[in-house]
C-alpha cells in the first residue's frame, strides 16, 4: 500500500493562544503519540495537509512524517478536529505505528453493487456502521472495507460477522453489530410515534395546574393540525386525564375572568 508523506515541525507553545497564532500563520497544531514514544507537539502546514487529505480521499492509510530533527516515523491519522461552522482545521492527532506491531484503526465501509431491496422493493440502504474498527499490521491495512450489498433485500441486515474475511485483518466489536441494512422508507412513522406520545403525556402535567388553561387549548389545536389518527387519539386521553377540567374554550374563558376578579 502507498505511504503518504507529510512534513511536520516541532512546536514550542501549547495552549489556546499559541495554537491560535499558529493557525493564523497558516499551520495546524498537531500531536504525535504512540505506545513507545512520548507525546510530541507538532505543527503541520495547512495547504500541505489539505492536499494530503485530497490524495488520501477517505482511504485508511499510513502517513510518513518527515522531520528535520528526527528520523521519519510512520503514523496514522487518528483524529482531525474541524470547526463545525467554518470547516477550518483546528487540530490533528497522529498516532505512531510500528511496522512489526499490530495496530487498531477505523476503516471506512464501502458498499458495492446495487441492492435488490433498493432496485426491486423500493427499499433504502441504512448504513449502521460507516466505519469498522479493525486490528492489523500496517502492511495489511486495507484502504476500505468493501461490502457487497447485491443480495440484500428489504428487512435483511449484514452484520459485522457476515463480512468477508481479509487476510491479516481482524474485525473488532460484536459480531451482531449491524453494518448495513435495507429498510422500507418509513422515516415518518418513527417521528409521528414519538410525537403522539408526548402530547398525550403533556396534558396531565399541564392540567395539574389550574392556571395552565392555555396549554390544553394549544393541544386541542394541535390535534386537528396533525391530521393523524394518533393525534386524534391524543384528544380522548386528554379528556380522560382531566374530566372535571373545563373544555379548552372554557379554559380560555376562565383566563378572561381572572382579571375581572382583580
Amino acid at each position: 500500500m502507498k505511504n503518504y508523506q507529510l512534513n511536520v515541525m516541532a512546536r514550542q507553545g501549547t495552549g489556546r493562544s499559541a495554537s491560535r497564532r499558529l493557525r493564523n500563520a497558516g499551520k495546524i497544531p498537531a500531536v504525535l503519540y504512540g505506545k513507545h514514544t512520548k507525546p510530541e507537539s507538532l505543527a503541520v502546514g495547512t495547504v500541505e495537509f489539505i492536499q494530503l487529505l485530497k490524495d488520501i480521499a477517505g482511504k485508511a492509510s499510513l502517513v510518513e512524517l518527515k522531520r528535520d530533527s528526527a528520523a521519519p516515523s510512520l503514523s496514522i491519522l487518528q483524529e482531525i478536529q474541524r470547526d463545525p461552522i467554518t470547516d477550518r482545521f483546528l487540530h490533528i492527532d497522529l498516532q505512531e505505528v510500528k511496522e512489526n506491531e499490530k495496530m487498531v484503526i477505523n476503516v471506512t465501509v464501502h458498499l458495492t453493487g446495487e441492492s435488490t431491496g433498493v432496485k426491486n422493493e423500493n427499499g433504502v440502504l441504512e448504513i449502521g456502521s460507516h466505519q469498522v474498527r479493525i486490528r492489523c499490521l500496517p502492511k495489511d491495512l486495507p484502504p476500505f472495507i468493501e461490502v457487497d450489498v447485491t443480495e440484500l433485500s428489504v428487512g435483511k441486515t449484514i452484520h459485522l460477522g457476515d463480512l468477508k474475511p481479509i487476510t491479516g485483518v481482524e474485525f473488532l466489536g460484536s459480531k451482531d453489530q449491524p453494518v448495513v441494512s435495507c429498510v422500507e422508507p418509513v422515516a415518518e412513522v418513527v417521528v409521528e410515534a414519538a410525537a403522539a406520545a408526548p402530547v398525550a403525556g403533556a396534558v396531565p402535567a399541564e392540567g395539574a395546574a389550574p392556571a395552565a388553561g392555555a396549554v390544553p387549548a394549544e393541544g386541542a389545536a394541535a390535534a386537528p393540525a396533525g391530521d393523524d389518527a394518533k393525534a386524534a387519539a391524543g384528544a380522548p386521553a386528554k379528556g380522560a386525564a382531566a374530566p372535571a377540567a373545563a373544555a379548552p374554550v372554557k379554559g380560555a374563558g376562565d383566563k378572561k375572568a381572572a382579571p375581572a376578579k382583580k
Binding site: 461552522i85 440502504l125 460507516h130 422508507p185 415518518e188 408526548p198 403525556g201
Partner: protein, 139 residues
C-alpha cells in the same frame, strides 16, 4: 407536535444560547444534513413544518432523521391580562439551536432531491442553515 412527555419542572427560565454547538454538529446517521449557521429557538411547530415539507418532497423515498427535540417550555401571559400575578402558563416548547447544530439528516436519496428538500425546510426555519454532505459521499 413534538413536546416532552413529562418534565421535571413545568416552566424554565429564559437561559442563554451563547457559543456554538459543542455536540451534534456532525453527521451521525445519514449522508446529507441541514446544519444551522445562526442561533435561535426552533418550536415544535417549526420542526413539524420542516419535517412535513421534507417528507412531501421525498415522496416516501429515503430515510429522515430528526436530530433536535423541543425540550424547553416557553410561557406566555394570556391576552388582556395585567402584569404580575406570576409567570404565565406554558404556551409551547422550543429547541435551543446554536450555530453548527445538525437539525435533520437524510439518506437513500440523490443529492439534488436532498438539497431541494432541505432548501424547502430551511425556508420554514427562523435561522440560516446550510446543506452538508458526508465526506466521501459521491455527489
Amino acid at each position: 407536535m413534538l413536546s416532552p412527555a413529562r418534565t421535571k419542572y413545568r416552566k424554565s427560565q429564559k437561559g442563554s444560547r451563547s457559543g456554538n454547538a459543542k455536540r451534534g454538529h456532525s453527521l451521525a446517521f445519514g449522508e446529507f444534513g441541514l446544519q444551522s449557521l445562526t442561533r435561535g429557538p426552533m418550536t415544535g411547530q417549526q420542526i413539524e413544518a420542516a419535517r412535513i415539507v421534507i417528507s412531501r418532497h421525498l415522496k416516501r423515498k429515503g430515510k429522515l432523521w430528526i436530530r433536535v427535540f423541543p425540550h424547553k417550555p416557553i410561557t406566555k401571559k394570556p391576552a388582556e391580562v395585567r402584569q404580575g400575578q406570576g409567570k404565565g402558563p406554558v404556551e409551547y416548547y422550543v429547541a435551543q439551536i446554536k450555530p453548527g447544530l445538525v437539525l435533520f439528516e437524510l439518506a437513500g436519496v440523490p443529492v439534488a432531491i436532498a438539497r431541494e428538500a432541505f432548501r424547502l425546510a430551511d425556508s420554514k426555519l427562523p435561522f440560516h442553515c446550510r446543506f452538508i454532505v458526508r465526506e466521501g459521499t459521491v455527489v
